[in-house]
Each structure stands twice: as C-alpha cells, then as structure tokens.
Point group: C2
Chain length 293, copies 2
C-alpha cells in the first residue's frame, strides 16, 4: 500500500478530487466506468497553477467523445474545475476521467446518459531528473496490445493490457515497449515511442492500436515546424532496435531518451536533444536559449 | 434514464449491493476498476433463492484471478454475500465484480492490493418468453472484438468493444454477433454462439478473443455427455450463415435459437431443442421429462 499512500490524490485547500464539480472521492458502483470501463481519460501536467497543453488534451478528449458517443463537457466547465484544483500548485498532475455515467445492467448505452466527470489532482511524480538527461533503460513487454480499429488512438478506460504489461517488471526498467499480435511496435505502457534513422523521425502508426499521445502530437508538430522529415509507419521490434536514436514521450515525463533496449545501447543523439528542448519548453521546464542555437 | 430506473439493483430487505460485504452503493474513484477496468465480473442466475451454476462461475472467476494476478476471495465469503442477496428471491440476477482495489496513479499494480468485491442483485430481465421457443433475430456487428492472447477467454472489466457493438442497433435485434479483425466469428455481445452442421456441434475457438461462457461450458459438457460430436474451431461469418442450426447461450438467457441472421432464416432444429432442455434444467426452468425421451 506504499504506492497508494505516496500517490494518493493531494490533500490541500479544498478537496483533491471533484466528481461532477463537487468535492467527493466516491462514485456509484452503477457507473459504467466501474461496470465496463466505458469512458475516457486525460492526464495533464500542471505548472505554476496552470494545466499545460490544454487545447491538445481537449482536442483528444473531444475526439474520444465523438468516437464513443459521449457528450463532451463544456470547455469552460471542465477548465474551471481543473483550475480550481491547479490553483496554488507549482507542479502537479491533473487526471480527468469522463464516463458514460450510470445505467442498468447490460451493454446497451442508456438513452439519455448523464456523463460523470472525475477531476483529481495528484503529486508530481518523483522520476529521477537524470532520466531526461542520460536516458532510460527500456525492455520489451510480452503482453501484446490489441488490434482494434474501433478503439485505436483514443485514451479510453480499458487499460488491462497496460496493467498486465506493466506488471511484467519492477523498478529495473523505466518503461516497457508493447507490440501488436503481428509484431509491430505500438507504444510504451505509458508513453509513445519515437526513433531516428538517417535523420528521419519515425513513430509507429496508430490506426489499429495504441493511444495517440498529446506529447506525441506536440513533438511531431515541432519536428515538422523545424523542417525534419517525420513519418508515422509500421515498424517491427528488430527494425526499431537498429535505429540511431530512440526516445519516449508523454505529457508528464516530457521526453526521455532511451539509453538501452534489450541488449542494445543508444547515445542521446542530436535530434533527440533538439526535440527535448521543444518538449521542455511545452512543459515550462526550459526558459534558456535553444541548446543548439 | 428509463433503463436505469428499470434495471437498477433491487431494493429489498437489506441492501441490493454489498461492497466488501457491507451495504453500499459507491466505491472509491481510486479503485482500479474505475481507473483502468482492472478487474473481473460474473453474472449469475438466481432461482428459488439460490445462485445457479455456482461451481462453474467460481471456476471461471478463479481462472481470471490467476490470469490477472488477483487474490480469489474465499468461496465461503463470496457465497455468504451472494446468498444474503439471493435470499427470498424467486428469480433474480447476481452480478459479482472483483477489482484489484485502490492504488496510486500508474498502471503498476500495488505491491499488496486489497481487492474490492461488489456483489449486487438485479431484477430478472423481462426478455420475451418466445425468444427461447421461436428463436431470435440476430445481426452482424461492425465493431470487431480484439485479438489478445493475454485476455482471451476471461470475463474482465474491459468491455468497451461490447458497448460499442451493442450501440450499433436498438431493439430490432435480440443480439449482434462479433468477429475478430481477421473475420472469424467470436461471440455475441452478451452471449456465446453455437452452430450445428451435419449433426456436429460447433462453437468458435476462444484462444485469441472472447469470453468463455459458463453456459457455453455447460452446453459443451452436456453435448459430449449425450454423445454428440462437439468442436471448438475457427469459423468465418459466411461459414456460420450456411449452418443448419444456430443458437446463443449465456447464464441468464439460457439458450436462444437463432431464427434469422443477416438475410438467412433458420428452423429450431433437433440438436438445439435437445440442448435447450439441458440448459433449462440447469436454470431450474424445466422439471418435466425429456422432450425427446
């Protein structure tokens, strides 16, 4: 229970969790999140009292709502709830869960669902600072990530595959990479993966599986803005291992270079360093001049 | 919200829902069922105050626990909770949800999880009685069911595929059949599917996808006991449509013959009728002599 205690939502001025705008820490067992994982989530970094990459997170949430047939909450309502939890926090994590609300037994969605919003503030995780500088050790997961065109790309609440994959190791690796049943690389359990070969930035195409990360979108947009060639494509595990640079992204870690994968080692390369600067700026971590300027 | 009202857990003497043995209708938002769908469920038929097919349900739940690395609750504890909700009910449905309990943010399972048990009693559904006698109209779903060797067969809480599939139609069909991305038939949204051709009973093999139903196991055991040839194998949609008889099973509906699928019609055949008798007996619906004796 150490982890629970350490990572429980933050106490603070007011509550650390809002359910439909009210301080609460419980939801109905009839909620379809409990019954079926019928909902979506977003995990946002907070810096100096404000959520970062808000527009990108809302864009993905809106896409997920469209996909699942959920009503997107009004932006100003959700933002007010998030702001009230961010207020006064230098660094924190905000998690938004949006569910299809309560219903009777049975998969059929209710005629007029009343969605449930759960917004909670969490402590900023204590990842070692050298992860970003020196890179991290990464492994291959045995648990595959499913192919499903109906769910690919969206950040839904059905996360058992990630749970089982993450349960494969303890603290000896920073992340594990997952493949689909055909052997194509999809993502890390909690991150997206990028690689560089011959100066081209490559990231797995996510039309069949995986979560299209907000930081992944940010990195791709920045890379294109910087004139880099950036490809979303199928890539096998052995192809990935042969790349020059590999790195991981998500909204909280930002960008971690991969130092080792399986029995291969990688240097923190020039493309990785450049994009890391972009990411650190997006996370409010960098105000100095461009490292390669 | 009609459905919610109609299908809400039963009020009655004592509560309709127990959370870890205590009357309650809410769980923590930190519960991993809410966060990740990290858990399992069972849906049992109740007849004359007793849960039916208890051993088979517990066997499947035990298998799921082993698979997900959850502690299986003691049988006598779970049974006492179920019995307390069944007491005095002629017909009802019991749903058991077992989760990995609460944890901090992050997919890694907690070191010492305290699982959450949610046991609730629901009204017996008001399916038309002629479904079982005359058969039902069934459609093909567009939403595919994923291939995932790590999750195949177990009745876990990640059910978005079934939710999306069931949302494809209203009341005009009794069930929809789902295929995997390779086009093989897997199951209905809430049932398993069987077919008969040249006297052989066939049901899709579930080593890559789907839920291995308790009533499916009961029907296969009975068929073998009756000397029928019974095959679990890959079957495509067009193969299935060409079969002589098709039927659906689950713990609550028992056995429904399929009257129509896509543009094909089917008679309620001899094998279906024989196995229906077995199923009705398992559900306490039949006490007369064997219909073909």
């Amino acid at each position: 229970m150490t982890e629970t205690t350490r990572n429980a939502p933050m106490p603070g001025p007011g509550a650390g969790t809002l359910v439909n705008g009210l301080a609460a820490d419980r939801i109905s067992v009839l909620d379809r999140a409990v019954q079926y994982g019928d909902g979506l989530f977003e995990t946002l970094a907070v810096h100096a009292g404000r959520p970062l990459l808000w527009e990108r997170h809302m864009e993905r949430l809106r896409g997920g709502c469209l996909h699942l047939g959920l009503d997107m909450p009004e932006d100003r309502v959700l933002r007010a709830e998030v702001d009230s939890l961010c207020h006064g926090r230098e660094r924190a994590v905000i998690k938004i869960i949006l569910t299809r609300g309560c219903s009777g037994r049975g998969y059929a969605p209710p005629d007029a669902p009343l969605p449930t919003r759960v917004v909670s503030a969490w402590p900023w995780p204590d990842y070692p600072a050298y992860n970003a500088r020196l890179g991290v050790a990464v492994r291959w997961c045995r648990t595959p990530v499913s192919i499903n065109l109906a769910l690919a790309g969206i950040k839904h609440l059905n996360r058992l595959e990630q749970v089982l994959a993450r349960a494969e190791w303890g603290g000896e690796f920073a992340e594990g990479l997952m493949r689909d049943p055909d052997g194509y690389v999809v993502e890390g359990t909690m991150s997206n993966v990028f690689a560089v070969t011959a100066g081209v930035l490559i990231t797995p195409e996510l039309s069949r599986s995986g979560v299209a990360g907000v930081m992944r979108a940010e990195v791709m947009a920045a890379a294109r803005h910087l004139g880099m060639r950036c490809e979303e494509r199928w890539i096998t595990a052995s192809e990935l291992e042969k790349m020059d640079e590999i790195f991981l992204t998500n909204s909280i870690i930002g960008l971690w270079p991969v130092r080792s994968l399986a029995d291969k080692c990688y240097a923190v390369g020039a493309v990785t360093k450049t994009l890391q600067w972009v990411v650190r700026e997006a996370l409010g971590l960098e105000t100095e001049s461009h490292p390669i300027a």
